[in-house]
């Protein structure tokens, strides 16, 4: 059996070599499908990677409190009115205070996002993200300041810290400390500039490059004196058990909200999940479309194999006449399909990763090369090859030796 396998590999190699251009085209067909799937997998893997890196950068002791949202699903992608978009967050300042009072909590900072125009005296209105938070935000989110300082307890309420890109948009410079600007008509003084982050994807769901960060009290002024908090970032005390803390926070907030569990506390991988899940759904949809090209590649294999079987009818007849079993004829052609698809898979994977790398030069994150993606891509192409090679191989094995030998006289 092993002996025959070697023989089949030799035969397959020879016959593939003999029809070289045909083989290359078939391999290309498979490779294109695999390349597109690899590209999507590598890029979506990169997104997941970037968030989990942020979590670990923050010290792996971050817990996020968010209002419970419906899980994004495939249906949402096709729904122009997602059910969650107008829901009001139930988190208020009392919840923040309750969390801060807990034993194992080091610091906690709220995030309250507001909409509105940010205008400089000299420029057009710019709709940056207005984020109202507390000075502790600096400890719960990894970022560095380029210039000036972050908001703190001492600074007056009408001060703002700008993201680098927003600063450039407003004043044409990143040196804007001391400059005056208007947020929703109120005058603010810039006291600091946040260094460019280049990660619009993060667990705060805020692009800090375009953000104007104000104090929570200023934020409340814009919202009829109520702090409507989208998210609370909690940093656990050293050596505190995160899962236990998660339970405590959850219980505390539920108590505040009349025992209604309308918030989620996310720790560790759960933080990554909501963002990556959405990306995974998008990646899934795109992969499905790319999968169609893979099926086309598979049909290419089948097509070429059928041609090959028909060309080699006499050879098949003769091999059977000198003692080849049907199984060994199937094996011979399956090995050919296997080689073609495996080569397509390897080339497609390498090519797809290269494409992902080129695309990532225009994106804020790097593609991620995971062995799972490699196994998926190459496994997929091999199974496509085996699946589509089976029919021609069976067709070859079922040939009647006499009729096969009689052909092409």
């Amino acid at each position: 059996m092993q002996l025959l396998t070697f023989e089949h590999i030799r035969t397959a190699r020879e016959s593939l070599k003999r029809t070289r251009s045909r083989t290359y085209l078939t391999i290309t067909g498979v490779a294109i499908g695999i390349a597109s799937i690899t590209t999507i997998l590598a890029l979506s893997g990169g997104v997941t990677n970037i968030i989990s890196k942020q979590v670990s950068d923050a010290g792996n002791n971050i817990a996020l409190v968010r209002p419970t949202t419906k899980q994004p699903s495939l249906i949402d992608l096709g729904n122009p009115n997602p059910t969650t978009s107008f829901t009001t967050s139930p988190l208020v300042e009392r919840d923040l205070d309750s969390i801060l009072a807990l034993k194992n909590v080091d610091v906690a900072s709220p995030i309250m996002t507001l909409s509105g125009n940010v205008t400089s005296s000299e420029g057009d209105p710019n709709s940056g993200t207005i984020v109202a938070t507390t000075p502790e935000f600096q400890q719960t989110t990894p970022f560095t300041l380029k210039d000036g300082q972050f908001i703190d307890g001492i600074t007056s309420e009408d001060t703002v810290v700008l993201g680098e890109q927003l600063s450039l948009d407003l004043f044409g410079t990143d040196q804007s400390v001391g400059k005056q600007l208007k947020i929703r008509g109120q005058s603010f003084t810039c006291i600091g500039v946040i260094k460019r982050q280049k990660n619009p994807i993060n667990y705060n769901n805020i692009d800090l490059d375009h953000a104007a960060v104000i104090s929570l009290d200023s934020g409340k002024l814009f919202n009829q004196g109520v702090a409507q908090i989208q998210q609370i970032n909690v940093k656990a005390a050293k050596n505190a058990s995160l899962p236990k803390l998660k339970q405590t926070i959850s219980d505390t907030i539920a108590k505040n909200h009349g025992n209604e569990r309308d918030t989620d506390v996310l720790i560790g991988d759960e933080i990554v999940e909501p963002t990556s899940r959405l990306f995974l759904i998008i990646a899934g949809v795109m992969s499905t479309i790319a999968g169609i090209s893979l099926i086309v590649g598979g049909i290419g294999i089948m097509n070429i194999m059928l041609v090959s079987v028909s060309e080699r009818t006499r050879e098949i007849g003769l091999r059977k006449a000198v003692g080849a079993t049907s199984a060994s004829i199937v094996a011979q052609f399956m090995i050919e399909a296997f080689i073609t698809s495996a080569l397509g898979g390897v080339i497609g994977f390498a090519g797809g990763y290269a494409i992902a790398f080129v695309i990532s030069m225009f994106l804020p994150y790097d593609p991620m090369l995971s062995w799972v993606a490699a196994v998926v891509a190459i496994g997929l192409s091999v199974s496509i090859g085996v699946l589509f090679g089976l029919y021609p191989a069976l067709k070859a094995s079922r040939k009647n030796p006499i009729e096969s030998l009689r052909r092409y006289h």
Binding site: L4, E7, L318, K320, G323, T325, I402
Partner: protein, 260 residues
Amino acid sequence: MAKKMAKKIVIELKGLSKRFGFGDAEHAAIDTLDLTVEKGEFIAIMGPSGCGKTSLLNIMGLLDTPTEGDYLLDDQRVETLSSRRQAHVRAKKIGFVFQDFNLIERMNVIENVALPLTYSGVHHTKRMKLASKMLGNFHLAEREYYMPWQLSGGQTQRVAIARALVNKPALLLADEPTGNLDSKSSHIIMEELSDLHKRGNTIIMVTHNPDLTTYASRVITMLDGKIDTDSKPTKTEEKKNTKRPLSIKQRKVMQRKKKK
């Protein structure tokens, strides 16, 4: 008689029929045929085209199945064998020679000859050795690495015979082995077959050419799927019939004489 009984029976056909088509279009290629082939016989099957010679040969070579009747090969009923076993029997016991040679064009001569050994589980190096030895027997040692299209018709058929014999089959089946060859090459091939016969091989050959039957130990004529005549030449007849066609050398000598 006792000596004859002791001879081993290789093939036994009982009431064998092969029909093609359905209903009105049904046509019997072989019609309730009985035949016994003993070890060491050289049988020539003759007959007009369409009389079922090739069908019979295909059935004996396990390439086709009879519609009715029994086929016993080495005392074993063939129809009880699985297709896998049948392939095994083809690989080990039967050698096939075709009218149109059927060498695989993209393989060189030695690989073509070694092909049957692949399916009887012989290792690559040993395959090549055996094939080379067999080609040597047919005076083709220098042609081992030629491609089939580089050979003459006679050489090609000798390669095909070498292939049929490489795994030392008990039975050699030849379907008009000289059908595509000129008379000179035909006689070379027939000499080879006759040699094999002398060495004790069982040979069954289908032919159109009555001249070639002189090499055979038994001539069967078929007509409409039945055996018409089955002449096992007696010892005396055999001696009479030893007037074989002239060898190439003798012919050349004769031609020269004629010219003079």
